[in-house]
């Protein structure tokens, strides 16, 4: 197969996000990641809902469909079922996926249809100019709640795990390498792969993730989880996560008798989601925010199940043409 480059995935449309928007970095990471999948360009399909983030497909030189607000999982499901050979990517925002589209979002995860969902979480409604979203921090003041929100926010990871999601990863728009790597791994996971991207909206919610992503703090405020590796982080890589009773705790290797052996080893493949959920919930200042693949378990996919039934029925049915169906059952001659 001819090797593709990021240029092959760049469309001729002018990119119209605000200068400085985190979406640019995500787009570039995607254009660089796809050639690594060694698939034909025509087999990629990008499906989005509505929002700033959902303009994404216009900028990818692949098949794309910018649909309606919140419903992208349903379109993506139809695409995948109609042609299981395609690599299907859903682009969505926090409002698109978790407010208007919350229902479709959880049902896609529950069915475990083999698609990849990129959730651009900027904790705000960008396109409609800055109203709070279901992930906005409680109390933030926006045009639609000038006195501060009284809404409790959703945690996308908890929603995903509650819906029996088989794959959950988190990345930040400031780490292009990690994004590329995770995009590739998400595609190789069979089932619904959900990637939460902490994305900065410079206009309406600037620096909301600064406590995690700012240069000065990021080494202590992020931990990149890797399969089979101890959960170490920090500028000196000497801080670690341990389980103390039912709670996670940050410790320092070398202090209070802690050695590397005491540190939790990451296992994204563990079926029991309890620890995954706890890890995904970690936030500064108490904890580093967990990045990387937090959960990736094997579970039958919806599309394979349906295809297997189709195959079975085709092989075992009494007839295989519509005319035979019409003539089946009780008939009589006149």
């Amino acid at each position: 197969m001819e090797h593709l480059t990021n240029k092959d995935f760049t469309s001729d449309q002018e990119v119209k996000w605000c200068p400085g928007c985190g979406d640019y970095a995500i787009l570039r990471a995607m254009q660089k990641a796809l050639p690594n999948l060694e698939r034909k360009k025509e087999d990629f399909v990008f499906i989005s809902g509505i929002g700033c983030s959902s303009r994404f497909p216009y900028y990818m030189n692949t098949y794309g469909f910018h649909t309606i607000h919140g419903r992208a999982p349903a379109f993506a499901t139809g695409v995948k079922l109609a042609n299981p050979n395609l690599s299907v990517w859903q682009i969505t925002g926090d409002g698109d996926a978790l407010a208007i589209g919350g229902n479709h979002f959880i049902h896609a995860l529950r069915r475990n249809i083999d698609i990849n969902i990129l959730l651009f979480n900027n904790e705000i409604y960008g396109l409609t100019k800055g109203q709070f979203s279901p992930t906005s921090k409680k109390g933030i003041k926006t045009k639609s709640n000038p006195h501060g929100t009284t809404d409790e926010p959703f945690s996308p990871s908890d929603l995903a795990i509650g819906a029996q999601g088989s794959f959950f990863a988190r990345v930040v728009d400031t780490n292009p390498k990690l994004m590329q790597q995770i995009f590739v791994e998400a595609e190789s996971h069979r089932g619904t792969s959900l990637i939460e991207i902490l994305q900065n909206c410079v206009i309406f919610n600037d620096k909301t993730f600064a406590p995690i992503t700012a240069k000065e703090v990021k080494k202590d405020a992020q931990i990149v989880l890797e399969q089979g590796k101890p959960m170490l982080f920090g500028a000196e890589m000497n801080k670690g996560i341990v389980l103390n009773g039912f709670k996670l705790e940050v410790v320092t290797v070398g202090e209070n008798g802690i050695t590397e052996k005491d540190i939790l080893v990451h296992d994204a493949k563990e079926q029991d989601p309890t620890l995954h959920a706890m890890l995904a919930r970690m936030r500064p200042p108490e904890f580093p925010a967990a990045l990387g693949i937090i959960r990736a378990v094997d579970r039958p996919t919806f599309d394979e199940g349906l295809l297997a039934q189709l195959e079975y029925e085709k092989e075992n049915a009494k007839f295989n043409t519509v005319d035979e169906l019409l003539q089946s059952g009780d008939t009589w001659e006149i």
Binding site: E42, Y63, R71, G78, T321
Partner: protein, 613 residues
């Protein structure tokens, strides 16, 4: 069994089986239907279910009915009112008291006319003991008692014995109409293959009912209805919902497409989903979505990817699909939306029929978003209209709304089996690898664009709901382009009128009265007009299946009649649509919004007054 009583030959007869939801009336009715069909009768049936699954036993709300009209003549409706009513309890009698012909025969299960059951039905005293049914031929059959008697040695428990009493009633009716019991015996053997004792019990009870009727003197004569003069061929019974499902399967096979259905259950449309879900062997992919929105959106996704994609629903579901349908119109993708209409607004009358979603189908979306609208008009032709809807949508790459209704969907009639080879060819409009592709370039004549399927090398492109630039399909906010595209989308639908046949009429080519109907009212309108034609009236019926666009010859056709009356099961939606399209023409209206079809007799008398004026 030899017959000692006299046998009377009937042209047609209407029979209604009514009882409690749990009395098995639907099965009884279906058995009588199948047997009559095999004898060559023309027929039409209509089930009438309660809205609640388990309404309190013995109450009027819990009555389930099945009406069948059989004849040796052409039968077009399930009949206005019944000649014979089987009432398994007082509630069934009460619910149907106005729907039985004066002087007709009523078979009641007299064992249920106890104080308690009468009270549950809201009777203070037994209607059989006052003058309520004077002049009717009432047969008081101790159905419960005789069923128990017949099965006392069967070893079955009381509950199973109670469940077979519908077979006793069926036996009586089989005797009355000289029908053989073979067909039902075969059916029972198959249905309860694993429970031979149940088969034996049911057959025994049916024979007991038959013999009871043969013995008692309350039935002075039995009747025959000879076979009808149907065109030669192989026949079967079909229900409208089943025929719709099969029409799509046929269209998928003829167009070499995979059929995809995205749907969410809703009465009375669910049976289309059930039927298609059975036929995975034919390659159909059915997806029961989390709601109607996901139903249509998954279908649009499948359509974008190359399937013949459909979504099926009823009124409230169509309301939810509005935004998705608008996107399919903008993206100019093939899609069929089936709306099996029911009584509205809101949840309305879920199990009753109505034609009140016409305006919703035509205009129920934001922006100017025209859709093709078709309507099927008999249970059998649901097959043809599902097929035509598929052909139009695939060839013109624009969504089609197909309107059916609860009456067609659940109604059944004998159907001369078609061969897929006799159906017209379908030529989907799809771009292929290597061709120069502009997503919004159009066929000069039809204005249809070509779609390009994911997986096709070199034709990568983006679709979406934002306004499209003419030819390129890129996003465009240009004011002139927008106006142009609104015009193109409308014109594209209009031009479909050039490829559909002229509208036909039944009856006089010109005359005093043109009766206009659309969709599911065909049977009753046809019967009424047919009767008046026989009386020598200058009348005709024009039943529309193509709603948008209308056929090209309507204006000329309308001008040939002195008076026009538009009959529909709503307050006048099609009449208003015609007024908008043919200004200056006077359209009278005849409307009914009771959840029931028209009766031919009410139509006939109304047409007579119009003709007399």
């Amino acid at each position: 069994m030899d017959k000692t009583t006299q046998v009377v030959d009937l042209e047609k007869v209407v029979i209604k089986f009514a009882g409690d939801s749990g009395d098995g009336m639907q099965l009884t009715g279906t058995q009588f239907t199948d047997t009559s069909a095999l004898l060559g009768n023309d027929l039409a049936t209509f089930p009438d279910y309660p809205a609640e699954i388990r309404a309190p036993q013995g109450t009027v709300a819990g009555v389930s009915g099945f009406q069948i009209h059989i004849g040796r003549i052409d039968i077009n409706t399930p009949g206005d009112i019944a000649d014979v009513l089987v009432a398994m309890n007082p509630a069934a009698l009460k619910a149907n008291k106005n729907w039985i012909k004066k002087g007709g025969t009523i078979i009641v299960n007299i064992d249920t006319f106890t104080k308690r059951d009468l009270e549950k039905a809201g009777y203070e005293t037994s209607p059989l003991e006052d003058n309520s049914f004077e002049g009717y031929n009432i047969i008081q059959a101790p159905i419960t008692k005789l069923t128990r008697e017949a099965l006392k040695d069967s070893g079955l428990d009381g509950k199973s014995i109670g469940r077979s009493k519908n077979m006793f009633a069926l036996g009586i009716v089989y005797w009355m109409f000289n029908r053989p019991m073979k067909q039902t015996e075969k059916f029972l053997e198959k249905k309860f293959a694993k429970k031979p004792e149940v088969v034996a019990a049911n057959i025994k009870v049916m024979h007991a009912g038959y013999n009871f009727a043969d013995t008692i003197e309350a039935l002075p004569s039995s009747y025959t209805v000879l076979s009808a003069n149907l065109a030669p061929g192989t026949y079967r019974n079909v229900m409208g919902n089943q025929a719709i499902a099969w029409g799509f399967l046929a269209a998928a096979e003829r167009s070499n497409k995979e059929l995809f259905l995205g749907s969410y259950p809703i009465t009375p449309a669910s049976d289309i989903l059930h039927e298609l879900a059975k036929h995975k062997n034919l390659g159909v992919k059915t997806f029961q979505a989390e709601d109607e929105i996901a139903g249509i959106c998954s279908a649009i996704g499948a359509s974008f990817t190359g399937s013949l994609a459909i979504t099926t629903t009823s009124g409230p579901g169509l309301a939810l699909k509005g935004e998705g349908l608008g996107l399919a119109i903008m993206a100019e993708l093939p899609l069929v939306v089936v709306n099996v209409q029911r009584g509205g607004p809101s949840t309305g009358l879920p199990t009753k029929t109505e034609q009140s979603d016409l305006m919703q189908a035509l205009y129920g979306r934001n922006g100017e978003s025209p859709s093709v609208v078709l309507a099927s008009s008999t249970p059998g032709n649901c097959f043809d209209w599902a097929y035509m809807a598929s052909k139009i949508t695939l060839e013109h790459n624009t969504p089609v709304v197909l309107l059916s209704d609860g009456y067609l969907g659940n109604g059944a009639e004998p159907w001369k089996i078609k061969s897929t080879k006799d159906m017209p060819e379908i030529n989907p409009s799809i771009a292929v690898e290597g061709e120069e592709y502009q997503p919004y370039a159009r066929d000069e004549k039809t204005l249809a664009r070509k779609i390009a399927l994911p997986g096709t090398k070199g034709l990568e492109h983006r679709l979406g709901g934002l306004e499209k630039e003419d030819v390129t399909g890129n996003v465009s906010y240009d004011p002139d382009n927008h106006e142009k595209m609104v015009g193109i989308r409308a014109e594209k639908i209009k031009r479909i009128a050039d490829v559909i046949p002229d509208q036909q009429v039944f009856g006089k080519e010109e005359g005093d009265l043109l009766v206009i109907g659309w969709g599911g009212t065909h049977g009753s309108l046809y019967s009424a007009v047919d009767n008046l034609l026989a009386d020598g009236e200058e009348i005709a019926l024009c039943q529309f299946n193509y709603i948008n666009p209308l056929p090209n010859n309507i204006e000329t056709l309308l001008s040939k009649y002195k008076k026009i009356v538009v009959c529909e099961l709503n307050s006048g939606q099609f009449a208003n649509y015609l007024r908008m399209n043919f200004q200056g023409t006077i359209f009278n209206q005849y409307n009914k919004i009771q959840g029931f079809p028209f009766t031919s007799s009410e139509l006939e008398s109304h047409f007579k007054t119009l003709l007399a004026k």
